[in-house]
């Protein structure tokens, strides 16, 4: 390897790893953030507060209500006899209230009616939709249990959930969050490192040394590509150990995807550093890119649900391609078509971003 490049890598790594705060940012923060995001950013609705209102002695309704609590989605909320069910919802003591027919569920069913009512608080629409879906399944299962064949529908289907059979949201979110963290750390670190050199005056010393523009640029970026890759490996390992997120595809695919992303993000960080005058501006510039990039990446919300203009903008977001890639590799085992199309797009963007960063960097030097 080129002597100058080796010297830069050694210097940057020594500087970065010697600083306790930087070590914490590089290796501590991703694990803490991954854990928090993995736990907090759950799309599963749990602990729904359910109250039941029925007449004493309604055994069938009692069993139906028990199956709600046994499902694990609902928690029991007590209510006094004669208490207004709407008041339970309005006060926030309950998210949903299951009401039995007045004459009792058994008698009502005998008449061929069997209608219960479920009051749902839809001030949180996501939660309300989840309550409705869970309730339908629980009622269907309870009807089949209580009334046998009468409860069976004429058409049946068997659902097989692939890649994430338990439908755990952490399986879906953790790979995306990994991309987000690597993106965040490499962009901010690169942008701030270069701007710090400008602020400290050390940049002038470097550029007045007999080095080519490419040597200076590579010297300042390659160390952060290496650190970004180390971070990517760390978060994959943490995702496996903490959340059990598997890596079903080959590791070389994962490494290629991470490399393509990190070249993009380090180039973006370099570009930001050529525009920013100080470290605060570099940090702000980094976040100005990161927030829309994360929102349009599909980490939290499906890109397909977004307006057309946003979808068009998302195609310029390297994180979107990486999220598709990493979910494909980690959860699906790395389908070749998904791999090469997204990796190709990411590589093209990396070439463009690196070229733009190099051009701006040269302008700054000159």
């Amino acid at each position: 390897m080129n002597r100058t490049l080796t010297a830069f890598i050694k210097k940057e790594l020594t500087q970065t790893l010697r600083d306790v705060r930087m070590r914490a940012l590089l290796f501590g923060a991703p694990i803490i953030q991954l854990t928090i995001f993995g736990l907090a950013l759950s799309t599963e609705i749990k602990n729904i507060k359910l109250a039941v209102v029925s007449q004493p002695g309604d055994a069938v309704f009692g069993r139906v209500a028990d199956s709600f609590y046994a499902s694990g989605w609902f928690v029991r909320v007590g209510c006094a006899p004669g208490e207004d069910p709407y008041e339970l919802i309005a006060s926030g003591r309950a998210d949903a209230v299951l009401l039995a027919p007045k004459e009792g569920l058994a008698r009502s069913a005998e008449r061929g009616d069997g209608k219960m009512q479920l009051l749902v608080d839809a001030s949180n629409s996501t939660k309300a939709r989840a309550v409705e879906a869970y309730s339908k399944n629980i009622i269907a299962a309870a009807a089949a249990r209580e009334y046998g064949a009468r409860g069976e529908p004429a058409l049946k289907f068997d659902v097989r959930v692939l890649y994430n059979p338990a439908m755990e949201s952490s399986m879906f979110l953790v790979p995306g969050v990994m991309g987000m963290l690597v993106c965040l750390i490499t962009i901010i670190l690169t942008a701030m490192s270069l701007t710090r050199e400008k602020e400290m005056g050390t940049f002038e010393t470097i550029v007045s040394a007999p080095l080519s523009d490419a040597e200076v640029l590579l010297g300042k970026t390659v160390p952060y590509i290496l650190l970004g890759l180390a971070d990517a490996a760390l978060v994959v390992l943490a995702g496996y150990l903490i959340f059990g997120v598997p890596v079903r595809g080959p590791l070389w695919q994962l490494a290629l995807a991470a490399l393509a992303l990190v070249v993009n993000t380090v180039s973006i960080g370099t570009f930001i550093s050529t525009v920013a005058r100080n470290q605060q501006q570099a940090m702000l510039g980094g976040f100005m890119f990161l927030f829309p990039a994360i929102l349009m990446s599909g980490i939290m919300y499906p890109v397909e649900n977004m307006p057309k203009a946003v979808i068009a903008a998302a195609y310029l977001d390297p994180l979107m391609y990486f999220v598709r890639l990493i979910r494909n590799i980690m959860l699906k085992g790395g389908d070749a078509y998904v791999l090469w199309t997204n990796l190709g797009a990411l590589a093209l963007m990396a070439v463009f971003a690196a070229g733009l960063a190099y051009k701006r960097f040269r302008q700054t030097l000159n």
């Binding site: 002597r3 100058t4 080796t6 010297a7 050694k10 210097k11 020594t14 500087q15 010697r18 600083d19 400290m200 005056g201 050390t202 002038e204 010393t205 470097i206 550029v207 007045s208 040394a209 007999p210 080095l211 000159n366």
Partner: protein, 242 residues
């Protein structure tokens, strides 16, 4: 070692509406210790950065000469060392780590590096502090380390922008003794300073004020011509005339 000299003709540099240099012509001849003297905002740093090729002039020209023949800046670059006014070291790296980093930037052979670093550590008397980080050095030691990094490539042209700014008097004297030793090796040294007493230590002075060149020449000749007993008096008188 090449015998380099630098000349500027009607050099101007504007930063927006601010005229940092307003048509100055210098002759930095080889083998002399030149002092660029002036108060804050006189245009010293701009001149230094223009000479080092870090800025492009708004108009006018800078000519570089090697052995009396015109040369491109790129030819001069491997022999040119520039020490900026701002702290130009890495606080987290030790003296040894700085020297090793600059050794690779200048692509020095191991034996050349060993000889030069030993000599420089002896001259600067920093050899006892080799493991100490730059951020933990005193102001004088810090400047000496900066100079040592610049000198590691054994330059023929040395541009020092206010190297003694904020340094205690003893360290300043040591610093100038080092510069005299270097000047004896016939390298071109340009030192900018706002300390008027340092002007008399130079073999040539160039007095700058608000982007204008007031005078150039040997210190005593300049003072004699201006009828002043010292450079401080000369500048005070110049200020009063404005």
């Amino acid at each position: 070692m090449g015998n380099f000299s630098i000349r500027t003709e009607n050099l101007k540099k504007n930063f927006g509406a601010v005229k940092a240099l307003n048509g100055v012509s210098f002759d930095f001849s080889a083998g002399l210790l030149h002092g660029l003297i002036g108060s804050n905002g006189a245009g010293k740093t701009t001149t230094m950065r223009l000479l080092a090729g870090l800025l492009k002039p708004s108009s006018g020209r800078i000519s570089y000469y090697s052995e009396g023949q015109p040369a491109a800046l790129s030819e001069l670059r491997p022999s040119l060392a520039y020490m900026p006014q701002q702290a130009s070291l890495y606080p987290d790296l030790s003296i040894d780590e700085h020297l090793e980093f600059f050794r690779e930037l200048y692509r020095l052979e191991p034996e050349v590096y060993a000889r030069r670093s030993t000599r420089l550590l002896n001259i600067t008397r920093l050899d006892k502090f080799r493991g100490r980080r730059a951020g933990q050095l005193s102001g004088g030691m810090y400047k000496k380390l900066g100079l040592m990094c610049s000198l590691l490539q054994s330059p023929s042209v040395l541009l020092l922008d206010e190297p003694t700014n904020g340094v205690d008097p003893i360290s300043r004297r040591e610093f100038w003794e080092m510069l005299y030793d270097l000047a004896a090796e016939k390298i071109l040294i340009v030192v900018s300073t706002a300390y008027m007493d340092e002007a008399e230590r130079c073999s040539r002075v160039h007095l700058l004020d608000s982007g204008h060149l007031l005078a150039s020449g040997e210190p005593r000749a300049v003072l004699k011509e201006a009828g002043a007993s010292g450079f401080e008096e000369l500048f005070v008188r110049q200020g009063a005339q404005k």
